[in-house]
Symmetry: C2
Subunit: 247 residues, 2 copies
Amino acid sequence: MTATDAALGGLRAMIASGDIAPGQRFPPEAELCVRFGVSRSSLREAARILSTLGVVEVRHGSGMYVSRLDPADVVRGFSLTVDLLPLEGLLQLLEIRRVLESHASAQAAARASDELVTRLHALADRMEAAVDLDELGRLDRAFHEAICDAGGNPTVSSLMEVFRSRGGHYRIMTSDHADPVRRASDAGHRAIAAAIGRRDPAAAATAAAAHVAQTEYWLSRMKPAPDADPVAAPRGPERSDPAGVSP
Amino acid sequence: MTATDAALGGLRAMIASGDIAPGQRFPPEAELCVRFGVSRSSLREAARILSTLGVVEVRHGSGMYVSRLDPADVVRGFSLTVDLLPLEGLLQLLEIRRVLESHASAQAAARASDELVTRLHALADRMEAAVDLDELGRLDRAFHEAICDAGGNPTVSSLMEVFRSRGGHYRIMTSDHADPVRRASDAGHRAIAAAIGRRDPAAAATAAAAHVAQTEYWLSRMKPAPDADPVAAPRGPERSDPAGVSP
DNA sequence: TTAGGCGAGTCGTCCGACGACTCACCCGGC
DNA sequence: GCCGGGTGAGTCGTCGGACGACTCGCCTAA
């Protein structure tokens, strides 16, 4: 049992026992040190762990506070990691994104406001007209974010934001196949917006899944391709070949 | 820009640039300190952040290494947080679990080996016979883990393990309604195993979703219930009322 | 050849100090 | 009386040095 572990356990116990409620402040570091019997360095490392996980928040000159323990905040800490993941890991994340975003789209379709539908079509318009790739990335994120937010689960929304944060998948726009990719992407956005406009959850889910699958498809083609063509090895029953995109 | 941020950025840059490949060792702390112009304390806090996120691994007496950057490992770091989440956050996580585990079950059904089906039914047998609640929790985790592993996405499997790690949801087994909960849970496991045995992805997905929804239902009843009966406010089209469980 | 010791290298922890920041309190001006 | 700014105690951020614990390659001796 290392000193940092002891401090970590002590802090977690104080939270778990309800001793310190969300939003409340911990005693100062010096006091916690004597309570746990560790040095300030070890205590600070333990605090750093919890702050990385989004459990506590340390404010310079003020003190250490328990965060609201909202899963959406917790999830956000991952954005630091996602840009470091290799391609193989990204594909696993994209499969999760496909499933969850499909789900969120269905939820959004079931409860969409007229404002949302108008907004989605407006974003689709601007995406089709965009020339700057950065601009395109921003619009794309806004489009999907609006849908996820309407899905009603903030954790899902936050998780999708993290997965999407690596805007790098738009680098495929600079590859040789930029044009068909772009057209298929625009069509996908239209299909999703239309399904949500019709308040058709099943259609929205299908359209969203196909849209993400399209990204998966193009991204998987950037793999070194160790043995087989990715198309010949679909990864499951839901893996639909993006219509109109395959060569 | 704080000193810790500087060190964090430096370390991340070394990884992102491919300067240090996965599995390789960083220079010793002292050298990194002079390179980034920070003290050893600050460098160690930055290293602690990355090790919490699963990006690096620090071995006592040996050095700091870049991890394999496997999303499954990264996700695992969350288990420390999950048991601190309040009930409301748990419900958001359960919705994600419902969606992802439903997906994994469909995948598993599409590619199930005979061994898997045998194993699932054996686990279901033991769960029905179990009397110890800890034993029951272990069997339940093993059952769902086997399915997720067969789903083929290690990240999903790891994520589900984290969500499930809070075995606490089995505390509902000690509530007044322990008996119907237990019966419904057993029936749910049977239904999932049977669907996978029939290699029926759609049925497996539905059965898995219903099984998790059942947990959501009972857990949501433990809420302070601010205004309405949870049953009167379903959270989406997929939210099926667990058959045979409702009062 | 091999088992064991040994020592250099590295991380884990502690201590003391000082600067930076926050916040509540106090005081003077309006 | 009200408001604004100064001020000081409290707290976190960072630094430097020191020493113990652990790892691992090397070397010695059986």
